[in-house]
Symmetry: D2
Subunit: 115 residues, 4 copies
């Protein structure tokens, strides 16, 4: 498995699902549920930690978190692919909206809602 760009990751996931006949499982609804479950598994690693502990994870723990982050990424790319969403384009658009919503220079060191 080698991939570097998001379309390559999407193609790898597509081939993986095809080889296993998983298309009937990989509906947008199921993938959205699965991505959300994996995001919670990332959070589970941090739930009882202080911010200081969370910043200084021991290597084997950091490695476990890395694999959970990969799960989120793989479902995210797969779901975007199934919906025909260009993730990079949407992210540029979202960052531009955020830049309007939270202008740099105004309220530095403040946050309102989702930054």
């Amino acid at each position: 498995m080698t991939f570097k760009t998001l379309p390559e990751v999407a193609a790898a996931m597509r081939a993986f699902a095809d080889e296993r006949e998983w298309d009937r499982f990989h509906t947008p609804k199921n993938l959205a549920a699965a991505m959300s479950v994996e995001a919670a598994e990332v959070l589970e690693h941090f739930q009882w930690l202080t911010d200081e502990e969370a910043k200084a994870l021991p290597p084997e723990k950091r490695d476990a978190v890395a694999l959970e982050l990969a799960d989120v990424f793989l479902y995210l790319v797969r779901l975007s692919d199934r919906l025909g969403v260009d993730l990079l384009e949407a992210s540029k658009r979202k960052m531009a909206l955020n830049a309007l919503k939270y202008p740099a220079g105004s309220n530095r060191g403040e946050i309102r809602k989702t930054p």
Copy 2:
């Protein structure tokens, strides 16, 4: 804002947070919570839909979902950056583990746990 690769997205998010002095908010723990909240917002769009409805979203709804997917992506990249995790490398490793766990050819059209 232009980016194409994951390191470029990470750099854009880093600059965005720096300009707003958001580093004290963007702890790994908070980012894990925020990513999980955004993943739930994606799921919210699908929660009452049938699989058929979910596959045929009207354009404005698909567009709203695209922006939520972007939120997940941006927090995912930011969190990985804060933890020093190489998301592409971890994803390759995870797909290799999945290929062992769910060998192609055996139990086609079946799924056990998280694929």
Copy 3:
């Protein structure tokens, strides 16, 4: 452990945490994260199932789901207790708001957002 009412469940959880000196872990923020993680673990049981399969869980699976539902309940009661929130009172208030938002008789068999 015997309890029947919500205040009794809250008291049991309080005693449990006290005996283990868990108050510094059981902050509202951590409990909100933990509750959300447990809710995702409930969802994980259903993520690849059809609605029909989900309605006809085998006994041992239903039992596993019951224990995950209990986890959500226990954190929910504990979090409400820590915040001084009366869960029954808030639920009555919420159902009254929902009754206004979704009047019975109008749009039967329809749902808009979160019902």
Copy 4:
């Protein structure tokens, strides 16, 4: 709407759904997704707060959180009802399991995984 016990809450939710013909939406799978989304909405209130800020919510914010907690509670009770799960019985069973897993007196002030 008046209820005091969990069976009364379940009956109120059942009537509410019946009057709106929502049974086809309220499948176990959809309710699990909805509960998980509502739990994330609780978490959203806390995601950028320090533990100190989270303990001292201003009244209007605490009130908003109370209504989100009610949402989790109502879906939890509804989902348990649809699955035929006795939430109080499962919670007693779960607390007994937790008492074995985390014996009082041993590792006080420590926590391993989900308590």
